[in-house]
């Protein structure tokens, strides 16, 4: 790990001011990802600005929407009463991630901005276009079980590893940002980028732009939702495939509305809009669910080790939608 200095922000404005003082600054949340990457020399900040003193509040508005401070711990969000009742998929997604100790440290913003677990990204001896743009990608022909089946490029096949984000994109979450140029907000689906020719650009954030909060709009039927994560051991492993879904079926057994997102399949948390479009207005049956999954996965491509994830995603999508349908009946 490189030597670095540590600063503690008191609020968003001070964080931005401290960060802009040096180019090589990183915001520090719980440090559970950033500090690991510093130990591996992949991140080499000279200054860390601790942003855990930022808002740790969870605000529930009258309409049921929520405003979640960027520094709220993953554990606190997962155990929030309103989250558990109104957005159970979010609580389940968080609890499916990492370990209790890590969740106790991890912040919401840090989770959103955690970096890929591609082992070639982690190893300085390997080629990685994220670490060294243009040098090539060793994962393409290497161990790529955990890699993308959707939206990948020849330059990068890494996935975004977050569980929390999968639930958030399903819920149309909006990210509140603040930077030197002022404040703005962005749908979470637009925060992370696909790798394309520039996998080193992972998000739409401006340099030193700060996440200040996450907003979740109200969604009445999200009380009936699920998160299913499929992985290589029963806990403490990243998703091979995960599915977040909320389903609203009317009295006639038709899908009135649906939210569906996938994890472990792409460089960003994957909102399954194509599947949603197939589902809306159709009978909530296995045939419809299969058609929806196929529509979403039509563009999926397997690599050496991860081709099975296409079928796995298909089955998991169908199983989760069936589970939600049966639980309703």
């Amino acid at each position: 790990m490189n030597p670095f200095s540590y600063e503690r922000a008191t609020d968003a404005a001070s964080a931005i001011r401290l960060a802009n003082a040096t180019a090589a600054t990183r915001y520090l949340g719980g440090g559970t990802n950033l500090v690991d990457l510093m130990r591996e020399h992949i991140e080499q900040p000279e200054v860390l600005v601790d942003v855990t003193p930022l808002a740790q509040t969870i605000e529930v508005r009258a309409d049921g929407s929520m405003l979640i401070g960027a520094a709220v711990k993953n554990t606190a969000l997962a155990s929030d009463a309103h989250v558990r009742q109104a957005f159970p998929l979010l609580s389940r997604a968080i609890l499916a991630g990492a370990s209790a100790q890590i969740r106790n440290m991890a912040t919401v913003a840090g989770n959103i901005l955690q970096r890929t677990r591609c082992t070639y990204f982690y190893d300085e001896a390997a080629r990685c276009n994220k670490r060294k743009p243009g040098c090539g990608c060793d994962a393409l022909q290497g161990f790529n079980r955990y890699h993308a089946i959707l939206g990948a490029s020849d330059d990068c096949v890494a996935t975004h590893p977050s569980d929390l984000c999968v639930a958030l994109v399903a819920l149309d979450a909006v990210v509140h940002l603040q930077g030197a140029a002022g404040s703005r907000s962005l749908p979470l689906t637009e925060l992370h980028r696909l790798p394309g020719a520039h996998p080193e650009h992972e998000t739409e954030l401006q340099p030193h732009e700060l996440i200040t909060a996450i907003e979740i709009p109200a969604l009445a039927f999200a009380g009936h939702s699920a998160y299913r994560k499929v992985r290589d051991r029963s806990s403490y492993a990243f998703a091979l495939v995960s599915v977040a879904a909320a389903l609203d079926v009317d009295a006639q057994g038709r899908v009135r509305d649906v939210r569906l997102a996938l994890g472990g399949v792409a460089h960003k948390p994957w909102r399954a809009s194509k599947a949603e479009a197939v589902l809306r207005g159709q009978a909530a049956t296995e045939a419809t669910f299969l058609a929806a999954a196929d529509a979403e996965l039509a563009a999926a491509r397997g690599l050496r080790d991860n081709g099975f994830k296409i079928e796995l995603a298909r089955r998991t999508i169908v199983a989760v939608l069936q589970q939600l349908t049966e639980a309703r009946a």
Binding site: M1, N2, P3, H41, R117, T119, Y120, Y122, D123, E124, A125, A126, D138, Q141, G142, F143, R145, V230, D232, R233, S234, S235, Y236, A237, L240, F308, E311, L312, R315, T316, A319
Partner: protein
Amino acid sequence: MNAEQKPAPSQWQPGVTPDEVMHRHGMIGKPVSRLDGPLKVAGKARFAAEVPYEHLAHAALVHSSIARGRISELKTEAARAAPGVILVLTYQNMPRLQNPPLFGSAPKAVGASTLPVMQNEHITWNGQPVALVLAETHEQAEYAASLIEVRYDVLPAKTDFDAAKRQARAPDTILGEPPAIEIGDAEANLQAAAFKVDATYRTPRYNHNAIELHAATVAWQGDELTVHDATQMLNGTAWTIAQLFGIDEKNVRVLSPYVGGGFGGKALWDHQILAIAAARLAQRPVRIVLSRASVFRIVGGRTTTEQRVALGATQDGQLTALIHTGVAAMTPYNACPEQFSFPARHLYATQALKVAQQVADMDMMVNTFMRAPGESIGTFALESAIDELAGQMQLCPIELRRRIEPSKDPVSGLPFSSRHLLEAYQRGAERFGWDQRNPVPRSRRDGEWLIGMGVATATYPYYRMPGAAARIKLTNDGHLTVSIAAHEMGMGTATAQSQHVAERFGLPLEQVTFELGDTTLAAGSLAGGSSQTASIAAAVIAAGEQLIDQLLMLATGDSPLAGFKRDQVEAINGGLAVRGDTTRAETYAAILQRAGRTALQCEAPAPEPAELQHYSMHSFGAQFCEVKVSAITGEVRVTRFLGSFDTGRILNPKTAASQFRGGIVMGIGLALTEATEFDPRSGRIMNPSLAEYHVPVHLDVPEIDVMWTDIADPHSPIGARGIGEIGITGVGAAIANAVYNATGKRIRDLPITLDKLL
């Protein structure tokens, strides 16, 4: 082998009376809690990385990023100039050392390979240490290490097992056994058999992941070297280091009172040697603690194998052919061919047998012993095949094993010293509810979960390592101390041996001390091959005989014991008594006090393990498991597990249960979750961390039931055969067999990940 070959040198050895202590039920067999437990819980047990020294310097390693070639350029200026740096060690300034004497090449040789340690510019594996940085703090050393730049001339490397296995060779020996054995014409019998199985099984690389990272704190004082190590081979380490550095073995003291998990991995690797060299150059005590990634790079693991098992059987379930052959990846510099064919040599009666092992040389970190090397993955292949055969014959797999139970060792023809495998099966089957199993695959289901049961034989050889001695000191307050350079890797060595000593000398536990973990004590043998308990016991018996002789020499005059010989007395109630007349007795304290002695001391080596020349000695077990497999995702969960063992006398049911359970947990990892990702393009391990290398988590491990026959082996000291490794054997097959029963899918390559079941 000729039964008259060797004299039987001790009373429990062949031809003479079994050790009587094995049948006493006093301290032995009690569930005594680990004596070091309170120390560990309080953080007072001091491990190798925690020993304090003044002016301690801290080391960090730089590893090569290529598998084979030469260092063409080393840029160390920035590292030298970095804050706190004391020394940068590379092949350019490394003291000239002898090459390590290879494990097994001499009685105390424990070198992991014959490769020179940082003596030249050659690179022979990806991850090889190319520099060590010494600094005032650990953080400074790590930072400076990151500033070192190394350039290489790259040479082509053999890093692809599939390519390497085409040039496989037969090793000279497999741990002293012939690499190939043929009895009868197994291939012809197989062709002609009524039922046959002929299949290929593959097992991946696995890495050691003991909780305690490898670490050493080393210090020179003149020519004398002290090494605080985490090791399971104290005396071998001292001797081998002495050879490397060209110093007298007596000048090397190795201490290792506590080890946070060994499993075969806590051995002599490059890090201790480099730290010792650095300490000499810097004239400072040095501490080295490997990072988890460094453990993957410079500590060997279980190597990859491809195995063929073929079985031929008659209509009534007699084996006519048993074939177990295959290849394991190895290097030209080590001698660890992964004895996967050992179980097939001793387990079943067969008309014809063919075993043959080859090794494929690769450019990789040398592989090593890892809990039941060979037997763990050998039983995966063999016991999967037995299950396949039973399925084909529509025979209960336990019944098949009953029909092929041998009456003597199939290869040597020797009698088994003690073999109760069928009893272990029968008792295990009852307790587990084996009769609940539906032999038709895919016939039990609970919602999306397919349920299946599997069973497999566990087996591990009995070993007793030569070289151990015991020192006994008896003081005139009646307190007895046994000291021996033995190893405590958390399994309860001191506890079980204290019980043994208390029982043998008729003392309460509080009157007994068992000292270990230091080469200044009587020589120990290495803690490997599940041999330590028996090896120590044999030494304690030998020294104990001397002690009693000495006591009787003192018990003269008006002592009630005057004139009696050793075989006429027994140790009881804190002293000796005449057999059959316990009123004629005297306590140890009284004997010493009357003779005006404050203490008695004696030391004796264990006799050679002659019992192994007279008997085929193995432990056995039956592993039962139930799994559920998601019909949707292919996820496998072990829902129930029972290990039923026949391992001789159990000295302490509490510590023994932990050994069995721990082995089974590791077996669940072997079967379902663990695999080292060794990139065949670069020879680099790509998942050197506990995040990406998946050892089982709590949720992967159900409650594990264990039971044992507790039948003392009359031909091993105190009747115990060793229990550290057998727990992992058979687990891979039991799980694979259960997965087959649940799903109808036979998975022959480990680990059984969900993609194989979709």
